[in-house]
């Protein structure tokens, strides 16, 4: 519409051709201010000022102000008085109306007596007989011209005033409409900007005339899904505000902390604050993140409740679970702004910040995965309707994370155990090696064409974890294999060690089927290595290290006496009996050799042939220059 079209709304006020005659003005001044002597410029100015400042309602306000000061009893008193006055006025009005009615009735009773009688008061009926009053039309005397012109002028003035008022109103509403249009335009532009960013804009289901933006997650639990919709409201100046209803507008986030030995050693990073916090876009983003975080925490608590048997505890706003003996993970929901206050409080080191961050990302990825699973479940043909409601199982958020942490801590422990033993044996000159395959169960290349790649990737981490350790033992043909399995989704819960050993020398020695405790596993493993060392000592004779044939012949032959306590016996050709005790722990290998005595007691032992108890210990750090175990054995084997 072109804005060139304009319509004069105000009435054109004509300048009066002929000014008022002076005598009239003088008469008016005399009537208004009295004698001309009193009218000075100053008094007139003062009057104009006073008129300007005076408010038409000033009188009433003044009396109101006065009444404010009065105390309550007076006010109550005044209230009653005023009420009485109102009543009085009403009565008076009523009475006057009744008089008027009586009068008209009496007048009419001449012509229609029956009807008029009905509206007459009883008193009037008694006092005046019906039809005693008559009326006649009299022609009024003609009004003087001056009166006619007066009336004309007054009505003209009234009309002018009304036109003016109407014009003002129209112009006002035009203004109002204009501002309304600009603000509407602003609003809709912002709505369009929101829509162009890719947000879903729709009508609110419960409030059909309002617009809303959907930022939530369709696959979330219903309460959180429904919270993912907020109204886009317009303020008076047309800017857009995001109305989330009763939900507090605070941004909240799930914080992950790692506690080692009752000291916080790691805390996940806060979300970086948006640089433009006031824009609608960032508000929507913040609302979306908050609803995601709250759902995440809700699901964490829900899952934590069923994991009570596995050491997970919940407080009002805290979920914590143990990783190892001295480490635990704490998850809580904090306000974003509060996070900055608490960030440095109680955090003694940033050693595990990476772990905490990884956990924080991990649980979020897992929730997204759970959402995808929900979509999958929702779009499958449903099972037939049964009276029992299907309930959604708890999402796997904590469990994979716990399993991973537990598993990796167990695997690291086992690896360190093996490394220690390896080190001890190495210092004793025995080569013993193992290969560790941590997380051998994860195969990220496993192809599954039915599922999208992202889902297959996450799916891998929901399966039980398994790591394998394998290696050859010292004795030929002996080997061992340890499988570490961690499963927190289905029983048996926790981490288990499956040890299988192939030892041809001890075919009937079998490790326990499934070992759950670290100490036990360590004990079993060292025991097998010990048995293996014993075997290699007994076999050492058959494969001499570097001795000549004569030397070999003079050596004692060691036989295992009590393999499970690490004892060997050797019987020399002279009948002297030697006992060797081998003990192995993760820190050291000790070999002690005693002379037990002669079996043939008749022959006194030569002094030089009774060696004192000899012992040799190989430590973890491997003192250089120590002889090897085999050398030691070879030495003590000499007769």
């Amino acid at each position: 519409m072109s804005d060139s079209f304009s319509l004069p709304l105000r009435p054109v006020s004509e300048k009066r051709e002929r000014p008022d005659p002076l005598p009239v003005e003088i008469a008016q001044i005399n009537a208004q201010y009295g004698s001309f002597r009193d009218v000075t410029e100053d008094s007139l100015r003062a009057k104009i000022e006073a008129d300007k400042n005076k408010d038409p309602w000033a009188d009433e306000e003044e009396s109101d102000k006065a009444s404010v000061d009065e105390d309550t009893t007076e006010r109550l008193d005044q209230l009653y008085k005023r009420r009485a006055a109102i009543n009085q006025f009403a009565h008076q009005a009523h009475m006057e109306a009744m008089f008027a009615l009586d009068f008209v009735s009496l007048l009419l009773s001449k012509h229609t007596p029956r009807q008029a009688e009905m509206s007459m008061s009883a008193y009037l009926k008694q006092v005046a007989p019906l039809g005693s009053l008559n009326a006649e039309i009299v022609s009024p005397p003609p009004k003087p011209d001056s009166a006619a012109t007066d009336i004309k002028t007054v009505s003209r003035g009234w009309r002018m005033q009304n036109f003016n008022a109407a014009a003002n109103k129209l112009l006002d509403s035009a203004n109002r409409l204009e501002t309304e249009v600009t603000s509407e335009t602003k609003y809709w532009n912002e709505v369009l900007a929101v829509k162009e960013k890719g947000w879903k804009v729709c009508r609110l289901p419960r409030e059909r005339q309002a617009l809303g933006v959907q930022y939530g997650f369709l696959e979330a639990t219903p309460i959180f899904r429904d919270r993912g919709l907020a109204a886009l409201r317009r303020t008076n100046d047309g800017s857009l505000i995001l109305d989330k209803g009763l939900v507090p507008p605070k941004a909240r986030t799930v914080r992950v902390r790692v506690r080692s030995r009752s000291q916080i050693t790691g805390c996940s990073k806060r979300r970086p604050a948006s640089d433009n916090a006031e824009s609608v876009e960032s508000r929507i983003l913040q609302a979306r993140d908050t609803v995601y975080e709250e759902e995440l925490f809700h699901e964490l608590v829900r899952e934590a409740r069923i994991l009570g048997s596995q050491g997970v505890t919940t407080r009002q706003n805290l979920v914590q679970f143990p990783v190892s003996k001295e480490q635990e993970v704490l998850l809580d929901l904090v306000d974003d702004d509060q996070g900055s206050l608490f960030e440095d409080e109680g955090v003694s080191s940033h050693e595990h910040d990476v772990v905490a961050d990884a956990l924080a990302h991990g649980i979020r990825i897992l929730l997204a995965h759970a959402h995808r699973q929900n979509l999958r479940r929702r779009t499958q043909p449903p099972p037939p309707l049964v009276p029992k409601r299907r309930q959604t199982p708890e999402y796997q958020l904590l469990r994979p994370v716990m399993a991973y942490l537990q598993h990796s801590s167990q695997v690291r422990w086992l690896e360190s155990l093996f490394k220690d033993i390896h080190q001890v044996l190495k210092s004793a000159g025995i080569t013993w090696d193992f290969t560790a395959t941590p997380f051998s169960s994860l195969s990220l290349k496993r192809a599954n064409n039915e599922l999208p790649k992202v889902e297959t990737l996450v799916q891998e981490f929901l399966l039980p974890y398994e790591s394998t350790f394998a290696g050859q033992l010292v004795a030929p043909q002996s080997s061992f294999r340890v499988k570490v399995r961690t499963n927190v989704t289905s029983p048996p819960f926790g981490t288990h060690y499956e040890i299988s050993v192939h030892m041809p020398q001890y075919p009937d020695v079998r490790p326990p089927n499934r070992i759950g405790l670290q100490d036990e596993a360590a004990f079993v493993l060292t025991h097998f290595v010990l048995l293996d060392i014993l075997t290699s000592i007994t076999q050492a004779k058959r494969s001499p290290l570097n001795g000549s044939k004569q030397e070999t012949d003079r050596r004692l032959t060691w036989d295992t006496a009590y393999p499970h306590s690490g004892e060997l016996l050797a019987l020399s050709s002279t009948g002297l009996c030697k006992k060797m005790k081998v003990s192995l722990s993760r820190h050291e290998l000790t070999v002690q050799v005693y002379s037990v005595g002669r079996i043939d007691a008749l022959d006194p032992s030569p002094a030089d042939q009774t060696p004192a108890m000899r012992s040799q210990t190989w430590k973890l750090d491997g003192t250089p220059g120590q002889c090897s175990l085999m050398d030691f054995v070879a030495e003590v084997s000499k007769e």
């Binding site: 369709l218 779009t379 043909p381 037939p384 309707l385 009276p387």
Partner: protein, 273 residues
Amino acid sequence: MHELLLFASVPAHQHHELLQQLAGLTAMQPCHRLERRLIFKAYRKPGLINTRVGASQDLQGNEMQRLNKMLNGGMFYTQVVGSLSEADFGAQSSAVPSGDPDAPMSGIVPGEKNETHSYTYENQPWKLEFRDIPEAGTRSAVTTRLMASASLPKGDIMTPMNAWGYSFVTEYVVEGDIFILNDIVIFLHRVLHYPTESPESHGPRRQLPSFQQMSPLERTGSYILQASITVQDGGNQEMMKTASQHLFGLREQLKSAVRLEQADRLSLDTRAK
């Protein structure tokens, strides 16, 4: 199991729009479905003696009673459904044609097309679907019928079906899209006919013609919208009521787009006379 149904006819020009609307309503992408459906008719095998007709003083055992009921009960048409993919149409049969002169098409070197895609009749999975005639005299405005489904062995279905006393009648293809809304399965589909061949075959086709050759049963190309809910226990009145309420809810939601209504009972008659 019982099945509650509502139907609507969707003209071809509305099809695309309705797909969009349904996708919005159910918040999911349409799941395209192609199914070949074989119709089988039950028949009484000749030579079957109806034991103990008339007054027998013997008390029939439970088992016997059930067997008799099964043998002498009503005869029904049943459907065998096999799902297909678009690529199955017009694909060369990979099965070695044995004594079937129609199978190899002239001009095509065997094995050349096999690399792209092949339709193997022997690997076609099947599902048996039984539908009873809709219940009569129900006052609610939904079609209710007894139903049962069972999966069948893959491949040649004629032999087992014949052994169970069913003879092949005809086959057709159903093409459409499925949406899921809570418990309701919404199937927007149409029936396609195979191109008429001169020799009337007496068994399911071992290979499929190209998809373009398929002609819709309804010449105008209109679709059928079928909304269904299955209920595990048809005797549970409360469940049936909930299910029909769900359907009515859907009917209200789709009111401005299509009119969902009950189907004519006799047109869904599956009894074999």
